[in-house]
Symmetry: C2
Subunit: 379 residues, 2 copies
């Protein structure tokens, strides 16, 4: 027997309750029955985004919402500033290029967050920049970029702050209105625990104002059309009905647990995972670790790709390794979504076993003990 356990930054494990809900007979989307569900989902999403704005739902992966965050708020030939600290940061430039937008790229060394002063300087040097694009959690490195401080920087300018919170929303505080985030995009298959297929986007008044002048072509991802429809609890195009039903259930679970409690659970797991890895003598890769995941340098002499493959093959534990320059050098433990303290013991225990199997000199049990102490010290 081999139990399979995903600790990957999307998809994340789907709670049984969501699977059961989605397995119910399908309802027609142009019906009062669906509209009642969608109304509840809209309200729940606004609560989750901590915004009074509309949170729009698209049938798409997260990248669809990233594209939407360009085409709906920019004009042909506009300049934007993009923070690029990993695979997802890189994607901003690719979208910009596809749409004829000039991107000023602020490269961050992988593992390092952007400095607010760097963004401030870039905005000073590019006063016509219409927006700053950044990840909350850069999934390829586990770096949390300082969103609140970045919002303070953009607030003083005409530029929007566009945040990809695909792997962050619901795992850590990102109060959209309180912090002044202008465009917040996310997706359903991370902290929310659904299978992939829904993307979300909410925009501030400042962003909606910019939407009026935007002239990049768009159709499927037209936020204005969606807002008009979704305010009537309908979608412009056929919605991913079962995922919307599952989202209704996921948001109910969030409400039952409470937003602050969910954030604290993620923070507690992150602290324990970090403590566990450090107790094994491993160094953390991210200099600004997010609550969604823990990225770790493999010890000398251990290829992280080999470790990741071994953990899955031998123990059914699915982690992800590093990409590009850090391939073979780091491994990533995602602990966002349907996880609790004891899941951290499982993953730390598996990593101990795996490292031991591969001949690394680690003290078996040291990581687990550190995690237990971390939990005990937690509020």
């Amino acid at each position: 027997m081999k139990k399979i356990r995903l600790l990957t930054p999307g998809p994340t494990p789907v709670p049984e309750r969501l699977s059961l809900r989605m397995a119910r007979p399908i309802v027609h989307h142009r019906s009062p029955e669906f509209e009642a569900v969608f109304a509840r989902v809209r309200e729940g999403l606004a609560w989750l985004f901590q915004t009074r704005q509309d949170v729009l739902v698209f049938a798409a992966s997260g990248t669809g919402a990233m594209e939407a965050s360009f085409v709906n708020f920019l004009r042909r030939g506009d300049t934007v500033i993009v923070v690029d600290g990993g695979k997802f940061g890189e994607r901003w430039s690719k979208v910009a290029k596809a749409y004829g937008v000039a991107a000023v790229v602020l490269k961050c060394e992988w593992g390092t967050p952007v400095e607010p002063a760097t963004v401030e300087k870039a905005l000073r040097e590019n006063p016509s920049a219409r927006a700053v694009y950044v990840q909350a959690n850069e999934s390829s490195t586990g770096v949390y970029h300082p969103i609140q401080q970045l919002a303070q920087v953009t607030a003083k300018t005409d530029a929007l702050l566009v945040v990809d919170a695909i792997s962050a929303l619901g795992a850590m505080p990102l109060p959209m209105d309180a912090w002044g985030i202008d465009v917040l995009v996310s997706a359903c298959h991370k902290a929310l625990g659904l299978p992939p297929g829904l993307a979300f986007l909410a925009a501030s008044d400042k962003a909606w104002k910019q939407n009026e002048a935007a002239d990049l072509p768009r159709f499927y991802f037209d936020v204005k059309r969606e807002r008009d429809n979704q305010r009537k609890n309908q979608t412009a195009w056929t919605p991913a009905i079962t995922l919307v039903e599952g989202l209704d259930e996921s948001l109910a679970m969030y409400r039952e647990e409470g937003l602050e409690t969910v954030f604290e659970r993620h923070a507690r797991m992150a602290r324990a995972a970090r403590a566990g890895m450090q107790a094994l003598g491993l160094a953390l890769f991210s200099k600004s670790p997010s609550a969604a995941m823990t990225t770790v340098n493999a010890p000398d002499g251990v290829d992280s790709e080999k470790l990741v493959k071994h953990l899955f093959k031998q123990y059914g534990i699915k982690l992800v390794g590093g990409q590009d320059a850090v391939k073979g050098k780091i491994f990533r433990i995602a602990h966002l979504g349907y996880f609790d303290d004891f899941d951290m013991l499982v993953v730390i225990g598996a990593i101990e076993r795996g490292l031991h199997d591969l001949g690394a000199k680690i003290e078996l049990g040291a990581g687990l003990a550190a995690a237990q102490r971390s939990f005990a010290g937690a509020k």
Copy 2:
């Protein structure tokens, strides 16, 4: 107790076998396990499309694939010809407008198919037209447009034939390569019986050639990028994993039944539904009825909206009424997907009851008897 039964042109009922498959624990998409599923799905889709081309899978509703059929094959300022015989035909013009493409619109009276000669004339008068856009089944009217003949027309020109087979694929023959369809788009929540969230697109050599010169901006729906990835059994962006798993199961069901048998089942249900309605003295609305649905004029004195509402409220039978100019005048019975002969007895029986309840003068049982005779006479 009230059993709910959907006979709507998308979503359609989800076979229990697909729901169970999709309720299984989620797998990670960047894994050999998922790649094996995706390889099988790619093969199955090519079989279903009857093509040797790649059938690309997008996490989107059908409209996403309609957009993809513009942005990947056209240049800014191009002219195209669009067949507009209903709500979905109208959508072509809207996409064209959004992307700065000039659309020569061939309006068909609702309920009437386009004449191949009309398209031929339009192509003669617009020799620079790059493509002809048409629905196979126009869901708002139940009209089947003569795809094979249209392909013969476009084959003699440089224009592509782009077919929206969202509510047609898998319910009627549309052999892409044999007929010479250049771009065939579809979705998973019609004949295939899945919940919405996957869109498909396949392109001919002629279309791929035009893709090389296309300059409309695109990112999420970039077919070239998807082809490069999907040939490696991966997708450029996170796929809708559970729907892909369900699609694997749906295609297995198709293979077990056999494509010709599925088509004959749909044709048989369509004949019986038409016979049943006519035996009740009702006239068919579509002058070119498709095998996917039967559209019917409500009898004098009966508001079709009222009938549709009554059938759902009283009997749990969900049909759809007419839109725009035919609102209140027609009702639509969709019989594509997970339906058999006996489901037709249910819906005909419910319509008889509903009409009777609303005071229409019909002979109870006449529709059912006609359907039975139709089935008995069927091969």
